[in-house]
């Protein structure tokens, strides 16, 4: 106990001197009465409510941990609203009253760098989280929040390796088997994927709902970051996605819907005639209408295979805001929610999330009593574990979110035939991207 106190005191002074050296007067202290958490949805809130020891729900936007009030600042992601509000809060952090300072905020991989590579986030080691605490986490989750100087500025409780989620009934009808290993043989690389897509088309099915589904797979396997210095660069693998998607669409193997639209969703039901989606654990459990009578997920008729290439999609990281007045509590939340194997195992069993703890996930992967009802009782964790080990996240930039979106929009138009050539689509992409980010060129 004594050792811990000394440790905290030391790190607090260290953080304070570090920060004042940066010319910022934001000091972190630990006696705040209000813990402000900024988020874009209820996911982390429900995790904290269900799994953080001693958390009491007060009402929809507040809770209590001991005598500290937890205040949730939830702003939706749409139209960049979440980041706009967070930016304002962080920029005003120094002047804000102690109880109004943001203490903890959540970020996604697509824009994590925008926050971690600044003095607005605290190093988690300064908060008292040790290498030993972090040793069981998947390396990629730490790479995402590591700043340009190599300092880890956040942590996550989840990992998001993705798999190819296929419709077992269609597999049985078209390929004569619904066994994951046998189905994987038909989709083990992109050539086989295209070939099998043809077989599916002849039987009246689309291999995927939209070519947008495979975008993350190609994008995660790109070797260049989006931006070099301030020059936009486009990896060959992204161009390959465009060409492959155009071929798939023109052959009638898939459509070009935007993700999350009604048209895209229809494959969640048998009438949609869609063979597969690409996604991580959260897509399977939260997005595929598992609680709707008549959906494929409800009947437990999905299966999971690795597919042509591994990838990741999504994930949420928690960062400590510089100037927090609840440094101890913030550190404890990070430790309990992202490093404590007991709590993390509880999250998997209760919420089917894929947690950021290798031993816990590997133990469950080997556990025959664990099964996923949506996947027809399959235990796909081994597949996710293998995927999580292979994710490489060294290529992130602060511009990813906007560039990803603009690239998909422009290329989607080319795939749809609205632009005659890739070059025209690229020109449209550069225009949109440089309007969005004036400091970039191509």
């Amino acid at each position: 106990m004594n050792k811990k106190l000394v440790c905290v005191a030391l790190t607090a002074t260290m953080a304070a001197t570090l920060l004042s050296a940066c010319g910022s007067s934001a000091k972190s202290s630990s006696n705040g009465k209000v813990l402000n958490i900024s988020a874009w949805n209820e996911e982390f809130k429900s995790r904290l409510e269900d799994h953080y020891p001693g958390y009491e729900v007060v009402d929809g936007t507040t809770g209590k941990i001991g005598d500290v009030t937890v205040n949730w600042l939830i702003t939706p992601n749409e139209e960049n609203a979440y980041q706009n509000r967070l930016d304002e809060l962080l920029l005003a952090q120094e002047k804000a009253k102690a109880d109004e300072k943001v203490d903890l905020f959540l970020v996604e991989a697509d824009y994590a760098v925008k926050y971690t590579d600044t003095d607005y986030t605290l190093s988690i080691k300064d908060l008292g989280i040790t290498d030993d605490d972090l040793k069981d986490q998947y390396t990629y989750t730490q790479d995402v929040v590591t700043d340009s100087k190599g300092v880890i500025k956040g942590t996550s409780w989840q990992g998001c390796p993705g798999v190819m989620i296929y419709n077992r009934d269609i597999a049985a009808e078209v390929f004569g088997t619904e066994d994951p290993d046998a189905v994987q043989a038909y989709f083990s690389d992109w050539d086989k994927f295209t070939e099998s897509a043809g077989t599916l088309k002849d039987a009246g099915y689309h291999v995927i709902s939209s070519c947008a589904d495979t975008f993350r797979v190609y994008q995660n396997n790109a070797s260049l970051p989006w931006v070099d210095g301030n020059k936009i660069q486009i990896d060959d693998n992204l161009i390959k996605w465009v060409e492959d998607s155009k071929a798939l669409y023109e052959a009638g193997y898939c459509d070009t819907f935007g993700q999350w639209t009604e048209d895209w969703n229809k494959g969640f039901y048998p009438d949609g005639k869609v063979f597969a989606y690409f996604g991580p654990a959260w897509l399977i459990d939260f997005c595929m209408a598992a609680d709707v009578e008549g959906s494929v997920a409800n009947a437990g008729r999905w299966g999971a295979i690795e597919g042509p290439q591994g990838f990741y999609w999504g994930g949420t990281w928690i960062c400590a805001a510089a100037g927090t007045d609840n440094a101890d509590l913030v550190a404890d939340i990070m430790k309990k929610m992202t490093c404590d194997p007991e709590i993390m195992k509880e999250i998997v069993l209760q919420d089917n999330d894929f947690v950021n703890n290798r031993p816990v996930m590997e133990a469950l992967a080997a556990d025959t009593s664990y099964s996923n009802a949506v996947l027809g009782g399959q235990n796909a964790l081994a597949m996710f574990c293998a995927g999580a080990d292979n994710i490489d996240m060294a290529n992130l930039t602060a511009y990813d979110q906007g560039l990803l979106g603009d690239f998909q929009t422009a290329m989607g138009e080319y795939i749809n035939g609205n632009y005659a050539t890739i070059d025209e689509a690229l020109a449209a992409f550069y225009t949109a991207a440089e309007t969005r980010y004036p400091d970039l060129t191509h």
């Binding site: 459509d255 048209d263 229809k266 749809n416 980010y437």
Partner: protein, 303 residues
């Protein structure tokens, strides 16, 4: 005696000014100051890259040069004008017709109050809700496509959002539906304000219905018509909500539904006040010029 009279006048003037203060105060704070700062900002390079501010650096008219020399702004201006005119023409025609029928006592239309309420209704729906509704109706698996397929008009779903004509057409249709009721009410008010003795005199002189409409109603309606046209022009040039929601802010297909204000919104991702300011000033000048043209054309004959 004389002196006292002047002081009386002054006192009344004073009250006039006092009553004007609230308007000028609100106008100065919410319109004039933002307008002037927008113009001021347009001469600076000033935006945010992540959490750090770039500028403000004075760069003269560079923002304007950059804005006006790129082809995009002219495409967006063209898109905006096409979609405004396409919505405005049916709107003014239908509104004139309806207002004429409603105001003509010889037709004795029953349930006028009901119809006036019904045609105004679309305006009460939020533009964003309206656009989302249309997006759902006209999506690939949406009800409109299902009806067209079951009627054998198409053999497979028609991608409305992927066709320039269809997506612009939908935006025009929505703007028309939202605003024709409002225009009808305005024109109706104008028509009811015309002295019925003039109609009677025209009838006695043997004028036909169309002669009465074009020779009596239209000239007397001109001030209201000019007002309707200019307010619609200003609203049309600032078209934003419907295409923004319908295309998710992307102006698809191929930027053909991207309006000026949607472009302005793109600049605001990085809080680019310089370029945003230049675009706003350009839009202000275009609106001003077009308003003057509309005003001149419509009031020429009166001189």
């Amino acid at each position: 005696m004389n002196k006292k009279k002047t002081s009386n006048v002054v006192r009344f003037n004073k009250w006039g000014y006092i009553f004007l203060i609230p308007f000028f105060l609100v106008y100065t704070i919410f319109s004039l100051i933002p307008l002037l700062t927008t113009i001021y900002n347009s001469f600076f390079e000033n935006y945010w890259s992540g959490l750090s501010e770039i500028g403000p650096t004075f760069i003269g008219i560079d923002n304007y040069v950059k804005l006006l020399s790129a082809p995009e702004i002219w495409i967006y201006l063209k898109n905006t004008l096409i979609m405004w005119i396409g919505g405005f023409i049916p709107q003014i025609v239908i509104a004139l017709l309806l207002a004429y029928w409603f105001s003509d006592p010889s037709l004795r239309i029953k349930g006028q109050r009901f119809f006036k309420t019904v045609i105004y209704m679309p305006n009460l729906i939020m533009a964003s809700a309206f656009a989302m509704l249309f997006f759902a109706l006209f999506s690939d698996a949406g009800p409109i496509n299902q009806i067209l397929i079951s009627l054998h008009v198409f053999s497979e779903p028609f991608k409305f959002m992927n066709s320039v004509a269809a997506s612009r057409g939908l935006i025009m249709l929505m703007n028309f539906l939202m605003w024709f009721g409002n225009t009808t009410i305005l024109l109706l008010a104008g028509m009811l304000g015309i002295d019925t003795a003039l109609y009677e005199a025209a009838e006695v002189d043997g004028a036909t219905a169309s002669q009465i409409f074009f020779r009596v109603t239209m000239p007397l309606l001109r001030p209201i018509l000019v007002y309707v046209m200019i307010t619609s022009l200003i609203g049309g040039l600032q078209m934003y909500d419907v295409p923004q929601i319908l295309t998710n802010g992307r102006g698809t297909p191929t930027n053909s539904t991207m309006t000026m204000i949607m472009n302005l919104n793109q600049y605001l991702t990085s809080k680019n006040f310089g370029m945003g300011g230049a675009l706003s000033v350009f839009l202000f000048i275009v609106t001003g010029l077009l308003s003057i043209i509309v005003f001149k054309i419509n009031s020429r004959k009166e001189d």
